[in-house]
């Protein structure tokens, strides 16, 4: 075996030599290639990407416009909400594109809420965040009155699972989601137990199964969400939200408010001369817009960059408005 080795290597070398001589005339040298982004004035733009697809849609559309129109060097950083906000202070994150409230983080990082002032509210994305309890469409059809919370106790035995004993199961999602569900169940005297499905993936798979195999399920969900275009879940009406009814977390007995989803940026970024500052400030679109791009990414399995390009190419006017201000 030993003596074969040099021969193999020699053969490999010969092959390589051949390749060299072939390509020497073929061209394609790297120095000839051109970069996409010519204008360097914008510099780096660090966009946090929080872990849900709707957010990804926002981040990549914004990033794509920043890159192609303003020549920014966009860095996407896959981070959780909490870590993203911490990144404002250190300059590692410039923009959080879709923020769902988070009063506790505001209190820590926004100057007007008593924080260290590293984060600045940059206005609405135009998206309305709706949180609530949902049932699969087949249930809403079969039990039309189930969408009123007052009837939930009547149906609680339908929702019994191995996780909830004699009570009905109300599935909650990821621990990062805004939720008052445990308090709601207690305060509305519902015969249910909150069971944490633990992640968005788990919730979606459970709802998918519930609709496909006609199984009862009641769970926490939200829009904008691409999954609703696959399975149009039906919202259960909780007692109407009024201003301040959710002030005391332990005594909440009303529906969730409609969240005005907003952009949050680093103070350092807001004060910079980057042309991307105005772009981020001006960026707004509708729930439907987001759902379309999110669907490209999740169901059509497009690369987020390509999905963003597809939407941007079809919406020149809106994008022009963001860029020009």
């Amino acid at each position: 075996m030993e003596h074969k080795r040099p021969r193999i290597v020699a053969a490999a070398l010969a092959g390589l030599g051949l390749a060299v001589s072939l390509t020497a005339c073929g061209g394609g040298s790297i120095q000839d290639a051109q970069t996409g982004s010519g204008d360097k004035k914008c510099g780096d733009l660090n966009v946090a990407v929080n872990p849900w697809v709707g957010y990804e849609a926002d981040a990549h559309v914004l990033g794509y416009v920043a890159k192609t129109r303003l020549g920014c060097n966009v860095n996407y950083k896959d981070l959780d909400e909490q870590v993203s906000w911490k990144g404002f202070g250190s300059g590692e994150v410039d923009v959080v594109v879709e923020n769902w409230g988070h009063p506790e983080l505001q209190k820590k990082y926004m100057a007007d809420k008593g924080g260290d002032g590293s984060a600045v509210d940059f206005g609405s994305t135009g998206n309305k965040g709706v949180i609530g309890w949902f049932v699969p469409p087949w249930m809403a059809k079969k039990y039309p009155d189930i969408t009123d919370w007052k009837n939930l106790n009547k149906y609680s035995s339908l929702f019994k699972t191995t996780e909830s004993g004699s009570k009905g199961t109300l599935y909650d999602g990821d621990p990062g989601f805004v939720t008052n569900d445990e308090a709601l169940v207690t305060n509305l005297k519902l015969n249910y137990k909150v069971v944490y499905a633990g992640s968005e993936t788990a919730l979606i798979e459970a709802f998918r199964d519930a609709e496909k195999n006609k199984k009862p399920m009641l769970g926490y969900f939200y829009e904008p969400q691409w999954f609703l275009s696959e399975v149009p879940l039906v919202k259960v009406d909780l007692p109407k939200y009024t201003d301040g009814c959710d002030a005391d977390a332990a005594k909440v007995a009303c529906d969730y408010p409609v969240y005005d989803l907003n952009k949050v940026v680093a103070k350092k970024f807001a004060d910079s001369k980057s042309p991307a500052v105005d772009l981020v400030k001006n960026f707004t679109w509708t729930n439907d817009d987001q759902n379309v791009v999110a669907k490209y990414i999740s169901q059509d399995q497009m690369d987020p960059e390509d999905a963003a390009k597809k939407w941007v190419d079809a919406h020149k006017d809106e994008v022009d408005a963001w860029v020009k201000g």
Binding site: P6, L16, I30, P51, S90, A197, T201, L203, D209
Partner: protein
């Protein structure tokens, strides 16, 4: 041959029992078994009487003084990091800067285009040539023939850049682990006191769920590769430390005496005798460290670590089974490649040490030629697009992804009614009663029961560890969740042991079964759990059972391999003797092979439990609730940082407790003469 993640090396495996089957241990074990049954009976009676009292249940958003205190500590670190007032924290930042800059340089060489150059310095051809050269030089041409196709497959699967990024992170973490780890291992081998001091620290490093330190590390080391490397270090360094120490301790006494008589100094002895003699063991340790580092890829992606973990999480987030799977397969290929190359390199190192030279003139010529070839490839890769950017065809990733997605859709529709029944029966008749016994009994009843069992099984040493751990768990304030988690882990471990005994015996007895199963086990061990989590979720829905199944899938391969190796190690003479005595196959297994592989089965149970425990946090993401959910909550919600830390620490205490009880129990069962 392969050492693909053998036991955690928490404790060195007991030597295989070579003495023939004796009656004494059997009686002893039977007595202990009876005692444990007695404890259980008393426990059930107490449970029936006092059920649902003093269970220390805690609400989902409840805060306790302990949580507040932990949260304040975390906030203090954060403030110190942002104000730059604390020298230790500044030092961490300084280290992070160095790691980040070296890392981004490496990325600009291999994967990331740095402006104004449109492509990285060296593309796929140069990278593969370099890898091939290293493989050839360190392990020979067989390894070269393995490494090159593996690298090509990264590109063909569509994850060239992510794969190389992950290799860089892993390489970084392994080099640093070895640099400090081998030194610490040497110290541990030579000082009993240092060893006693470091062992609990290593235990904590290996059992602390990484989600617990995601947040603090991203504060200390910033959001970037440095934090990922540091996280990986925490989990990956212990194996090389432990195994180095183990290897050095194993260097034979007479050899040391003989060389000492030549009048060498301690350092000379270490350098010339001990390290060379323990070389192969140390390389096995490095190998384990590498596997552990790879297994952190997905978790590290939660704080933006570059590498294959990102597409795995993307698939999870976008509900794309195929995406996660293809990226996961790339991780498996990388793991197998690194494992086999390292094993081959270790083998070669030993041969070289024995032969006392570096090989003949042919090898020198071969190496010289290979080096020239690599230089040519590097040049090409630097200069031409075709040799830099991995070609988009052939593309194996897309068809594979689609096939897996189709498989997922098939799972969703066709099986769920059957699987629901399995889930319901297993939960109602298996999990729920046991959980009720542990978690719904008053805390002092459960504690007392655990203590007595620890005493019966593990003896005095086990009792001491158990008292400390139980006190800690009580103090942290998540008692009820801890008991729920413990239940799920115990039940899952029983399943793991049953699987391990059945499949392990099959593998140990038949070479053909072994050859067929081993690659599947290797893959199961290195595939990121997030990949098979979704199929399990589709089958069984979000609940404790699903989390348990995921834990079993994760833990079974290690346990099965341990039992298989134990059964195979039974001496052929014994088998022959038993055959002559006319024992049937069943008798052979139950009366000869399993009893003689007893220590392996016990070790499999111990490792199975620790592996199941390592899945607690991931279980929390699919409906297991309890401690796993608390840990994730701490990472996700600023208000619950304290709860997360408390839950993480509770998991560590549970891990150490069950490890000590089973380890001391296994020691007593294996050496029955000691305490009769």
């Amino acid at each position: 041959m392969s050492v693909l993640a053998p036991p955690l090396a928490n404790h060195t495996p007991p030597e295989p029992d070579t003495t023939p089957w004796r009656a004494t241990p059997a009686r002893l074990v039977r007595n202990r078994f009876a005692a444990v049954i007695g404890v259980l009976v008393v426990w059930v009676v107490a449970w029936a009487l006092f059920k649902d009292h003093f269970t220390l249940t805690i609400g989902g958003s409840e805060q306790t003084p302990v949580f507040d205190w932990l949260r304040d500590r975390s906030n203090w670190v954060e403030e110190a990091a942002s104000s730059g007032s604390n020298p230790v924290i500044n030092f961490a930042g300084w280290i992070a800067d160095i790691v980040d800059s070296v890392f981004s340089w490496l990325q600009s060489v291999f994967t990331v285009a740095k402006f104004p150059r449109p492509l990285p310095q060296i593309g796929w051809l140069g990278t593969i040539a370099l890898a091939a050269l290293v493989a050839y030089a360190a392990a020979g041409w067989r390894t070269l023939a393995l490494v090159v196709p593996c690298f090509l497959s990264f590109g063909v699967l569509g994850y060239w850049d992510d794969s190389i990024d992950l290799l860089i992170v892993t390489f970084f973490a392994v080099v640093v682990s070895c640099f400090f780890g081998i030194a610490l291992g040497v110290l541990m081998a030579h000082s009993r006191r240092f060893s006693a001091l470091l062992t609990p620290v290593l235990d904590v490093m290996q059992t602390m769920p990484s989600f617990t330190y995601l947040l603090p590390f991203s504060i200390l080391f910033g959001i970037g590769p440095a934090a990922a490397v540091m996280m990986t270090l925490v989990y990956a360094a212990p194996p090389v430390i432990r195994i180095t120490a183990h290897g050095l301790r194993g260097v034979s006494g007479p050899v040391l005496e003989a060389t000492d008589s030549l009048g060498q100094t301690g350092l000379q002895r270490l350098w010339n005798v001990e390290l060379p003699m323990a070389k192969r063991t140390i390389i096995a340790g490095i190998n384990q460290t590498m596997m552990a580092a790879l297994s952190m890829a997905t978790i590290a992606a939660y704080i933006n670590s570059p590498g294959l973990g990102q597409p795995v999480l993307d698939g999870l987030k976008r509900s794309q089974l195929g995406t996660s799977f293809v990226a996961g397969i790339a991780i498996v290929i990388m793991a197998v490649m690194l494992d086999r190359s390292m094993t081959a390199a270790g083998f070669r190192a030993e041969l070289a040490a024995r032969a006392g030279e570096k090989g003949g003139p042919f090898r020198k010529v071969g190496l010289g030629l290979a080096a020239v070839g690599t230089l040519v490839a590097l040049y090409l890769s630097h200069s031409y697009v075709w040799a830099n950017e991995f070609p988009s065809q052939p593309d194996l990733g897309t068809p594979l992804r689609n096939a897996v997605d189709d498989f997922g859709n098939w799972l969703r529709t066709d099986l769920s009614h059957l699987t629901d029944a399995i889930q319901r029966v297993a939960t109602d008749y298996g999990l729920n009663p046991i959980q009720s016994l542990l978690a719904d009994s008053p805390w002092f009843v459960t504690s007392a029961a655990i203590l007595v069992i620890a005493a019966v099984v593990g003896g005095r040493k086990a009792v001491i560890s158990t008292v400390v751990c139980l006190a800690g768990i009580l103090g942290l304030g998540l008692w009820n969740h801890a008991m729920e988690t413990l239940t799920a882990c115990l039940v899952a471990t029983i399943a793991v042991v049953v699987l391990a005994v059945v499949l392990g015996v099959l593998m140990g007895r038949s070479h053909r079964v072994d050859v067929g199963l081993r690659p599947i086990l290797d893959a199961g061990q290195t595939l990121p759990p997030f990949v098979y989590l979704v199929p399990v979720l589709i089958l069984f829905g979000p609940n404790r059972f699903t989390a348990m199944v995921a834990g079993v899938v994760y833990a079974a391969p290690v346990a099965i391999k341990l039992v298989a190796d134990g059964v195979r190690a039974v001496s052929p003479n014994t088998i022959e003797a038993a055959e002559m005595a006319g024992s049937s196959t069943w008798q052979m297994i139950t009366k000869v092979q399993l009893p003689m592989a007893r220590s392996s089965v016990l070790l499999a149970a111990n490792q199975g439990l620790l592996y199941v425990l390592a899945m607690v946090v991931i279980g929390g993401m699919v409906g297991a609730g309890a401690l796993g959910f608390d840990v994730v909550t701490g990472f996700r919600q600023a208000n619950d940082v304290g709860r997360g830390l408390a839950a993480g620490t509770t998991i560590v205490l549970l891990g150490i407790m069950v490890d000590r009880i089973t380890t001391y129990g296994a020691q007593r069962a294996s050496s029955p003469a000691s305490r009769a």
